[in-house]
Amino acid sequence: MKFWTVPLKPRDTPLAMAAEETMGSSAGPPELQLPTCSIQVTSEDGAMCIINPLFLAVHSDADWLGHSLPPCQTADAGRKALRPRNGLENLQEPGSTEEGETGLQELPKGAPRKGDVSSASRRRRLLLRSPAQSASVGPPDGPPSPEPPRPETHSPHRASWIEEAPEATAPAPCHPLKKSHSESSLLGDALLPVMELDSLSVSSVEDEAEAHTAAPATPSHRKRHSAVLTSKVLHRISAVGSALSGLLSAERRVSNRVQELAQEPGSYVGGLVQSYVAHVLQGGAARHTSSTEMLQEIRQTISNLKGYLCESSELQAGGEQGDTEEMDLGSVVEASLYKCLLKPLRDCVYAQLLDFHTQDGLQRRLHDHQATMRKQSLAELGVAAGVPDGPALERIQAKLGLLHQAYSPKKKETLLLKVCKMLYEAMNQGAGRAEPFGADDFLPVLIYTLVQGDVVPVQLDVEYMMELMDPGQLQGEGGYYLTTWFGALYHIGNYQPATMVTRHISIEAQRTIHQWQRRRTIHHREGYRRRSQDILYISFQEPFANQKAIPVPFHMTAASVCVACAEKYGIADPASYGLFLVMDSTSRLLSGDSCPQKLRAELLRSRGTSVCFVYKLKGRGELPATGAPALENQRSTYNDPA
């Protein structure tokens, strides 16, 4: 018996048995004794699901039905948990399938009868299949239904199942019922190990859950989903789940440990966290000269605590070690610290930010310019692409609301990217162009969208993210769109009706962005160097391939590093390997007495670029010495003592 076939909650056990009993008998209300081989599941909230036996014949293991039906309820005696009309034999006989096509007549008491029965059951059947389809784990669909699905058969959770349902087909359910919700409910209901990690969770998952409590939750949909899962879906999920759970549980342990420590004022970290939070809440934020400095101090505190937790033994002291090696300890600690610091401070920080910008007049300017810009035509705003329509705007506003409420910069980033995605969709909707609108058309659409709502909270959010995001996060898409949003807000804040609307970020805004980027990334490099002062990442054979972290103190020579590498990579003939410095697509063998850390530090200082160290076979493709300045020991040499 596989684990997922075991009833999950004790209270389900009698239900499952009841279901089995009912299956054996063919008892049912007399008026419904019609030839059919549908199986009907009545779930907790009274919603009915009908499982097409064809589906079972095609998709199921033989014992699927007997064991794995998810939580059903018999509390209401009027409803039977599971009622196959023809008994089990029919289910297993392929001959019964044709009957199955025309069947699906049975309904519980109080449900609509005859006339609308078939359409209702079709709807259910559709419902039943869609999860398997969209999760794309099931084999090809069973025989097609007699009629094609009608548009009105869309149900909210069908749309919700597919994360980015096309706007045209989704009947605009404005509440954000998201994929993550479906997923978590799916896991939570159906799968114990995964549910465990989901409910205890790393904080980001909890964040999700928190956000959803605000949204109109639809618990009834959850049950129905679970009721229609096939064992195959469960199987796939469980495989993925067990593969992940090892790593995730280690992460969760670290995350919980950080939070424990932070809440315990007696611990060193707890003392730091509690006194910092108390300090800021008691008005400590007000003493800063600017909003940027206030946020910088908070970011610095997060980085410091992260550094301390990663470096000191305090985190290890309470728990098991070993598996922390595999995970990205820094990012797990970072996420936990958001919870310890930013969650309690968020409201205070926002109030203070608003204070700063009320004083410097930015708030006023944004308000005024927003009012002006709302009255302008799309052409005046420079918009060439499509813009979000009413319902789309509402959905975007809902996302922006969640973004504003979130305290984790990471979570905010995710939501910001979702809004960007929605904007791109709106831009290209009904455009009928061969080429979709791209990044150049994005800024005016973003400006248009932002002035439709309240700009001030967005301004605060963007500032909050720009200063508090982990510097490592600033690379890539998140950083790019964050600066685009900054550019849009800068434009709104400094809008002058006389000047023509630009479709690009203004020079002034760009300059500010550059300064910011420099500040934050230099900062990042410092932090990076600090935490890993002795670690050198060395690739094997190819740059950035098979990298290993090797502890290399500042004065350790290349020869000693080679010895360490030979051991780490299990090289039998170390003499034929050497340590190479790869930079700007040139590769140079380092002499045995040079110091890789020193070289790296010098290059970082003189050129500001990062370099790559590669341990590889000598005599392959390295360049002869060239006269690059400030680079000692760059001559190619073959007398490596290692």
Binding site: S275, C310, E311, S312, S313, T324, R529, R605
Partner: protein, 194 residues
Amino acid sequence: MALRELKVCLLGDTGVGKSSIVWRFVEDSFDPNINPTIGASFMTKTVQYQNELHKFLIWDTAGQERFRALAPMYYRGSAAAIIVYDITKEETFSTLKNWVKELRQHGPPNIVVAIAGNKCDLNDVREVMEKDAKDYADSIHAIFVETSAKNAININELFIEISRRIPLTDTNPSSSGKGFKLRRQPSVTKRSCC
């Protein structure tokens, strides 16, 4: 080899060179255009001391007045405090005396105090006599050195002296004993967070 974690914080007026001292110690580098510290910054460095490894967990606090309220956070749990003044600015020495008073009142009872007179390479414009500072340090049983982060003078010596003092004076097992829990770990440098 046993690993011992030593929490050290740096205190002192703005611009006296706290961060430069830490930078020199940790990275062996010096940047004349360093920005003022915001809040505090954290760094570590592991050095061998006799038959032990000493891992310094260093809290470099901001010297500017508006960050002063944060300092107790950092010195409260520290085994040692390095109070830095600038030998070319008399008033930074007065600030130092205030820090000593504050530590006596609110700091941990057994905290090791070290006094560093930084910028000793600028002897020409000296305002604080070495002897005065030395006498004061002796009167409060503090370590005393004149340092230059710029020229790498007495920086390592300062930390070695702290290493030497802490095991002798520290009777509180909670602040230094934590390191022994690491014994299960095969290596002390293998952990990295990125």
